[in-house]
Amino acid sequence: MMYKNNDMISPGQFAHILILTVVGTGILTLPRELADGVGPDGIFVLLLSALFTLVAANIIGYIIKRFPGKGYFEILTICFTKPIAYIITLLFVVYALLINAFIIRVFGEVIKMFLLIKTPIELIIFSILIITAFLARGGIEPLGRMAELLFPMIVIPALLLFLLAAADVNLTNLLPVFQASPLEIIRAVPAGFLSFAGFEFVLIFGKYLNKPEKATKAMSIGIGVVSLIYLIIYIVTLGVFGRYQMNHLIWPTLTVFKVISFPGLFIDNIESLVMVIWIFIVFMSIAPMHLSKTILLGDLLKLRERDFLALPIVPILYLIALIPDSLAETYEYMGPFSNYAITFFSIVIPVIILILSVFRKNKGRESGSNA
């Protein structure tokens, strides 16, 4: 087209992308996994893992600050060498594909269960993937705008619904706290941390930040908002169901809305409405991942124009998403993989980059002063 986008996002949009990516990934399983281990003390686990994530997210923010205008691949090339950068980037693409396929599959199952009982899951998955590709094709700018636009559209109704559900909170479900030993709490933190997975994707978008110096601030605010959302979800779902009932639910966050009854409401069965919000959330979680894949693949293949890559990834994603036979199998496949992969890409790699970049910079300074 004649009038090109300048392909930049503001720190606000950056934070919005972060929030929506993380929430969409973690929201479903979060309360169950926490309650599983420690019950009411999950609040502290949540706070601790939020703190831990905050540190990890700030490392990523710091990397963005340190390499303004540099893409993931470029940063890797500077810190490691080119071959290693290729390998890691490729691994990241695979990782993104898998986690994306996982979310899509779960999404398809949820939609099938709550909304379209007779529609084949293939159609459900494929149709949303097409729209994801459409957004990814547009590049980072529409994504940033979309995130900022959808955030209030998601959060305000969701909060209202949780407020309605809060009427059914039973305080005895929340109460005796400090039952778990500190060791148990700390042992549960990794599970809590996994609910924050997804923040590592924004490292790829750091290149497009128009004010890279605000990256850490945006990251901190984003993680803060996510923690707040999680806290509300956890307290309400735990308060409604209690520790033991929650263990038997696949998606406590969605089931919690079944308890809502509000006289005079035109629409019965609020969970169908919740589905609308849920589709928004999932879409805004897979779309950034999809875009990051096209960006990374574009870097790997040294393409100047990478928008067309968005579409060819769709069939691959579609096939991977349909590999598991059932929902249980999906979780089974994903479980061990996600633990390692998420830790690797959200903690290990950023920390190594950080150390190496400090080291390289000092070296560079020395050689600069010698010259």
Partner: protein, 528 residues
């Protein structure tokens, strides 16, 4: 770039009208010959030759187009002065010509606008715009006398944007009159009016208006750049310009706002937008445009803010209804009957049991019918149009229910949808929503509520990618973190006293529009 060229710029070999320049000669007869050659068979052109000066020694001629020039002015202030006053010149044969020329330029032409041009083409273009050409013997330039006096419609109340409270004047078909209507509201020398002619044959005046220190500079530059690319034979209406300079021609959403109201245009200028006035069109274009600005009506700003806010919220609800209501009906009845309250569901089920079609066919029948009714109503003269509405709305709706073709709830849905779409202040936007509504009905028939949400996402993604002259189409909703002050004028409208800053579309230097003004002060003075 290439697409743009494919569409509009490729035909460089197109016909060239009056590309060559012909200098006027010293001899008035030769000049007149040239005129007559160019304007052969143009029987509306009037030539008036006259001899002035002592003994009628000096020849002058005026040329104008009958019906476009103000004859009164020509008779009283040009011809009579020339013919009578020029006799007073001192009859010195050597200097008579110079003296007459001096007399004509400095003393005798009692008109406000006189210019000199050198080429025949300029003379002809000006003459065809309604000016009068005065040719003098022994003078190699033509004089252009400002005498535009064609028939103009007087300003009247805008039909498409009527208000209950607010000014009632509307734009007319004359660009100059329209710029004057805007100027009346902005007595600021920094309001600039740049006129250019577009269209090789029509030579339509297109005026770009902006306030120098408020305007969004990149947008202004783009307007000028895009106008320069237009190479067309004729511009009939501002709609031509709109389609040529819009960012994306594939989208159903209008990216350029048009208005018939001078007050809207003036307030757009104060917001830092660029206004494009096109001759022969009462619709003035305003850029950049956002979806939000298309949902604002002039009257919002004249009413008190509480009412305006209520109306705005209502309008946004109307947008949602006009887009989604029939689709929701289809989705709920065919896919998610569990969402309908149980009593209603039973009643609705009983009524629907007699209807032979699936809900989507039902919805399409009614929607198409109402669209046809509406289209018929627009073209018909006032009273008949209203009759059509009553016949269509009441009779057909009632008959369709009794005939068992549609369920009663469907009729209600369609009626509410139609009414809602009339609540959208901008006609272009309402049309695009009408189009999208059919898309929603189809997808609801295929995928239910999920499909509706998907299409909604699709449209939102599309809208997020749209820009109008560098401004995101969905601003300020997509960048409210940076421009939160803009939210004061969206689905709410805060009191005027709280909107101290200009919309951020404006050039960022002059952001303040109101000095700190607190109404509480009034009460205090009262107490003292």
């Amino acid at each position: 770039m290439s697409l743009w060229q494919d569409l509009f710029g490729r035909e460089k070999s197109g016909e060239e009208v009056a590309a060559k320049e012909t200098e006027l000669s010293n001899n008035i007869d030769e000049n007149l010959e040239m005129f007559k050659e160019v304007l052969v068979d143009c029987e509306d052109v009037v030539y008036r030759e006259a001899f002035v000066g002592v003994k009628g020694a000096y020849k002058v001629a005026i040329v104008y187009v009958d019906g476009m020039a103000n004859k009164d002015l020509l008779n009283k202030d040009v011809l009579s002065n020339l013919m009578i006053n020029a006799r007073l010149v001192d009859p010195d044969p050597d200097s008579i010509k110079a003296k007459i020329q001096e007399l004509i330029f400095d003393q005798n032409l009692a008109v406000t606008e006189v210019r000199e041009v050198e080429t025949l083409e300029e003379c002809v273009t000006n003459m065809l715009s309604g000016e009068t050409i005065l040719l003098l013997d022994d003078h190699e330039k033509g004089l252009i006398i400002g005498s535009r006096g064609f028939i103009m419609r007087g300003t009247s109340e805008p039909v498409t944007e009527a208000v209950i409270r607010g000014p009632r004047d509307g734009f007319v078909e004359t660009a100059r009159m329209n710029t004057a209507l805007i100027r009346r509201r902005i007595r600021d020398p920094r309001l600039k009016v740049k006129v250019r002619q577009i269209g090789k044959r029509s030579k339509t005046d297109v005026a770009i208006m902006y306030i120098e220190d408020l305007v969004n500079r990149p947008a202004l530059e783009q307007v000028e750049e895009r106008l320069n690319t237009i190479d067309i034979d004729a511009i009939i209406d501002s709609g031509y310009i709109e389609q040529m300079i819009e960012d994306n021609w594939q989208t159903p959403f209008p990216q350029i706002q048009n208005t018939e109201r001078p007050d809207s245009a003036a307030s757009a200028l104060y917001e830092g937008r660029v206004v494009i006035v096109v001759d022969n069109s009462p619709f003035v274009l305003m850029v950049p445009t956002t979806l939000n600005s298309l949902l604002q009506a002039a009257e919002d700003y004249y009413e008190r803010w509480t009412i305006a806010t209520a109306v705005r919220i209502l309008r946004y609800i109307a947008v949602v209804i006009s887009l989604l209501a029939p689709a929701m009906y289809v989705a709920l009845t065919s896919y998610h009957p569990q969402m309908i309250p149980i009593d209603l569901a039973i009643f609705l089920g009983a009524k629907r049991a007699g209807v032979p079609f699936p809900a989507i066919v039902e919805a399409l029948i009614m929607e198409v019918t109402i669209e046809i009714l509406r289209e018929a109503g627009v073209r018909l003269p006032g009273p008949i149009g209203a009759t059509i509405g009553i016949v269509g709305g009441l009779v057909i709706g009632q008959a369709a229910v009794e005939a068992g073709i549609v369920a009663p709830l469907m009729v209600i849905t369609v009626a509410i949808t139609a009414i809602s779409s009339f609540a959208i202040p901008n006609y272009n936007l309402a049309i695009s929503f009408r189009l999208l509504r059919f898309g929603f009905i189809f997808i609801a028939g295929a995928l239910g509520l999920y499909g509706i949400v998907l299409l909604m996402l699709f449209i939102l993604v599309h809208l997020c990618g749209l820009k109008s002259f560098g401004i995101p189409y969905l601003s300020p909703f997509v960048n409210y973190i940076d421009n939160y002050t803009d939210l004061k004028d969206t689905f709410v409208l805060l009191p005027r006293t709280s909107m101290r800053r200009r919309n951020t579309i404006a050039f960022r230097k002059n952001v303040n529009r109101l000095k700190d003004h607190r109404p509480e002060k009034f009460n205090k003075e009262d107490n003292v």
